[in-house]
Amino acid sequence: MPVMNVVEAVRDAMRLEMRRDPRIFIMGEDVGARGGVFLASEGFLQEFGEKRVIDAPLAESSICGIALGAAVNGMRPIAEIQFADFVWPAINQLVGEAARVRYGTGGRKYAPLVVRIPYGGGVRGGLYHSQSPEVVFAHTPGLKVVAPATPYDAKGLLTSALRGEDPVIFFEHKRTYRLVRGEAPAGPYTEPIGSAEVKRPGTDLSIFTYGLMLHYSLEAVRIVHEQDGINAEVVDLRTLRPLDAETIIASARRTSKAMVVQEDTLAVSVGSEVAALIAEHAFYDLDAPVMRVGPPDLPPMPFSPLQEAAFMPSPEKIAVAIRKLAAV
């Protein structure tokens, strides 16, 4: 199997699906000649032409609103939001509109658009190139929200999103784009949306996480295994809506201890929902309260390097938390 990084996996999924399905087109800021600021659509203008690779004006609400209209009229648009921090002007077209098309028309219309959103911090992005807004979408019935962490999952899940019949908000962690490499099949394949995956089986406790924090958690688990003999399980949520409650609850029951690790603000977050699910359905199997690891409760995130590092969860910080939970 070829080895690729996350942005290559994203590019591969889009390219293969655009070759297969003429209804798919991509629209966003700098997606044409520039190939996207992260080069996700590098070479697309040459291969697919201006009609299917549309450089949009700097106007996120209409990028999403136009994609929504085209989706309702039989196309499969990919709207690229350049940075997650810029998605706020489009929230109404996504949360207010796209999520309600099928429901609000009694099933007569539906909007199979895919909105790709590079997100996340630890990249010296400051307040406006570091945000993680996924919970707003994960809160919204009618949307599907995907946040892969590996090249294999990114390609398979994006392919599923492009073949689906519902609006999908697809979060790509910027730090993983070139940092994370892994094997992925050269041809097209799908990974199911709505399923979490145990990325490392363990017996002492379960960590629930997604995105960049999957890799930090795996590294932390490696450290505590080597140094302390703690055997932790790591569950990659992969899809944030619908959450794979079955896998989450089964893992918590199996290890009897649960930890949530995320980069996003803890209050009212994806991790809050995971903790609530475990409390509702695995409470009597637990040996300790659910532990949450995340950033301090500040606007994400400071630009200056010492402060940014202090803000972001890290393998070392997660390792400290694992030791604490394992000792209960």
């Binding site: 609400s61 209209g69 009229n73 099928r102 609000g104 009694g106 809506r241 609850i249």
Partner: protein, 338 residues
């Protein structure tokens, strides 16, 4: 005589206006009787809407409407009973299964939809609909309606800008009734007419008397022809009067004087104006006018009876259509088993 419109067409258009007025009045009565929840009356907008729709081709064109479009819906073949099922939120309501406010959802026979109460959102959506047609090379025009209130939204600007860049087959129709609920035009914009903004997007904008159905028809006909020939969008602004308050929950005497209201009702009602035009042209007699109005009232009476007899949709219906696959039986995302 305008191109493509003949005497019988004009009378037929007047029939739709009369039906709309009778239905509009009935919905008000149902609201005051506590049976219909809320209604944004189309009284005053009838000629503009009937003129617009007549200039399009419902067998292929797309329509994105907003909430004040009772007449447009009737002209597109929606029946009074279908609309009343919406106002009474009854089972069988064809646009949204009565999940939405009346006039929202998707039409069962024409490609018409309206998702939102957030004004202006339909403008970029319409542009996306047109973009899809252009990409596939389909000969269809997208007609999108909005009010002067929605003209202030950023979405309206963004949508028109993109449509201008790509010369998309869209007709933007602003039904300018001079008020965003209570806020008059002079507090909404520093210009006289919304249509002048079209110049900023690189396509024509035109303002017409929205109480004159033939003037509206001709302006929209030209805009549709322009869109079909690949020349791009047009913004048509139809100046109308909103003869009643914003909705059944509004009271316009709080922000209009008695004289202003009387002046508006005297000068701005398109029904007597249209009737007089038809009689002047020898297309309708007093007796025929009376028969048209009586026929409209009978149709509305029958529709009211039918709609009131329908039950409310069952509770279990609310769990459908969240996603392509079944979803949402409570708890919202509880475990699939165990």
């Amino acid at each position: 005589m305008p191109s493509g419109l003949f005497g019988p067409d004009l009378v037929q258009m007047y029939r739709t206006m009369a039906l709309s007025r009778a239905l509009d009045e009935r919905i008000y009565q149902l609201n005051r009787a506590g049976k219909a929840a809320i209604f944004g009356s189309a009284q005053g907008h009838e000629a503009a809407q009937v003129g617009c729709i007549r200039a399009t081709d419902p067998s292929r064109d797309h329509y994105l409407i907003f909430y004040r479009q009772l007449t447009a819906m009737l002209e597109l073949g929606t029946t009074p009973v279908e609309l009343l099922l919406g106002f009474l939120a009854r089972q069988g309501e064809p646009l949204s299964m009565a999940r939405q406010f009346p006039l929202h959802g998707a039409h069962p026979r024409v490609d018409l939809f309206s998702f939102s109460n957030v004004v202006g959102t339909q403008v970029p959506q319409a542009v996306g609909v047109a973009l899809a047609d252009q990409m596939r090379g389909e000969d269809r025009v997208t007609v999108v309606f909005f009010g002067d209130g929605a003209a202030s939204q950023g979405d309206t600007h963004e949508g028109m800008n993109f449509a201008g860049i790509h010369k998309l087959p869209v007709v933007f129709i602003c039904e300018n009734n001079r008020f965003a609920i209570s806020v008059p035009l002079r507090k909404q914009m520093a210009i006289e007419n919304v249509s002048v903004r079209a110049a900023g997007y690189g396509f024509p904008g035109v303002t017409v008397d929205g109480t004159d159905m033939v003037a509206v028809y001709e302006a929209v006909k030209e805009a549709v022809a322009r869109a079909r020939s690949g020349k791009g969008p047009t913004l048509v602004e139809a100046m109308v009067y909103r003869l009643l308050p914003h909705t059944t929950d509004d009271d316009h005497s709080r922000y209009l004087t008695k004289e202003e209201i009387e002046h508006m009702r005297r000068e701005g009602d398109p029904l007597p104006k249209t009737a007089a035009m038809l009689k002047r042209r020898g297309l309708m007699t007093d007796a025929q006018e009376a028969e048209i109005k009586a026929g409209a009232r009978r149709a509305v009476d029958e529709a009211t009876e039918q709609a009131e007899a329908a039950p409310f949709p069952p509770v279990e219906d609310m769990y459908r259509h969240v996603y392509a696959e079944p979803h949402g039986v409570p708890p919202a995302h509880g475990p699939k088993s165990g």
